[in-house]
Symmetry: C2
Subunit: 203 residues, 2 copies
């Protein structure tokens, strides 16, 4: 197995943390998007959408989409479980994973794409999209802080893929678009210390 990686991307980071939590050794192949390595004929044959991460299995089959890759690894290497074990746990973790994507990760990516120099000549940037997303993320942080009352991790049980998505979202917020978790959101701030102090956080 090998993983085609885009080191700075929050989506590939999700998979790298997941792999580290599973204690797996998987060869990483960095793809340089800026020089168009993701648009070569060879890469597009593996993923026609030209995106990373991409997991190539030994037989050549390619799995795209970060969460699909994580779920494949979960099924192949169940310990420690990061998607839950009972039917209800699995549903709750999936609910929270998706909430973390839709309320935080995707809007933060939208802010980055609509404001950052790197995307200036690649897409039509609409600053108003970034402004609206930025307000939304700040509001949703207040909500998440309430939801974390009495909980150590996002989905209520142990550390899960929902935490991985959230922490990669907030790493992006802090490093790329200047949105940080306010210290007065004490539950969220404590959760942030908890997840960023894990040995896998810098994978």
């Amino acid at each position: 197995m090998k993983l085609y990686d885009l080191p700075a991307s929050p989506n590939t980071r999700r998979v790298r943390i997941f792999i580290a939590e599973k204690n797996l050794e998987i060869e990483m192949i960095p793809i340089d998007m800026m020089s168009g390595e993701n648009k070569t004929e060879e890469y597009l044959a593996k993923n026609p959408l030209g995106r990373m991460p991409l997991l190539e299995l030994d037989g050549g089959t390619c799995i795209a989409e970060s969460i699909a890759i994580c779920r494949y690894l979960e099924n192949e290497f169940p310990d420690p479980p990061l998607f839950g074990t009972t039917s209800l746990e699995k549903a709750m973790i999936e609910m929270w994973q998706r909430r973390m994507e839709f309320q935080f990760l995707n809007p933060l990516i939208d802010i980055f794409r609509n404001t950052h120099e790197m995307w200036k000549d690649r897409i039509v940037q609409i600053p108003q999209v970034a402004e609206i997303a930025s307000e939304g993320v700040k509001e949703q942080m207040v909500w998440l802080n309430q939801e974390l009352e009495g909980k150590e991790y996002i989905a209520g049980g142990g550390y899960s893929v929902a935490d991985i998505t959230a922490q990669c979202a907030f790493v992006m917020g802090k490093a790329a678009v200047g949105i940080r978790i306010p210290e007065d959101l004490s539950n969220l701030d404590a959760w942030w210390s908890r997840v960023t102090s894990r040995p896998t956080a810098r994978a």
Copy 2:
């Protein structure tokens, strides 16, 4: 179990089709968003994000997020499988499900929200967002048509949750924003006839 439903929403339609494919009987409770039934204290206690669909279990536990609900039902009622059975099938179906969300369903919802009268006083509408999303959806239809060469269903095997997401996206495209599958995209058009002629398509 009961499902809080928003009859016109593509996300709730995904769950209704899923339930029909599983041949389950689940009580449906329509929630009227226009009169604010999703913002009452009682509803927000069930889902603080105020969204539908929402599955309430007999013990009172609530599961939000359409795909989390579908996965819960898949785990509880495995036949017929709609998320795959082997580890690789599950990964490929998840990959395709997510592609159908990100390339079609979410952009089509964006178009609707940014242009439709219904959303005029609810959000800041940005017509340019709808224009860009509309171009993207049309381009991606060409890609999906190529991907469907030699395949009956989106993920390559039998009918799956990836087809459900795609068909709900295209129902929305046709009914709400005037984007139809062009007849010359013959693989996509044949797939569309195939899925819309299933007895569950109007669930």
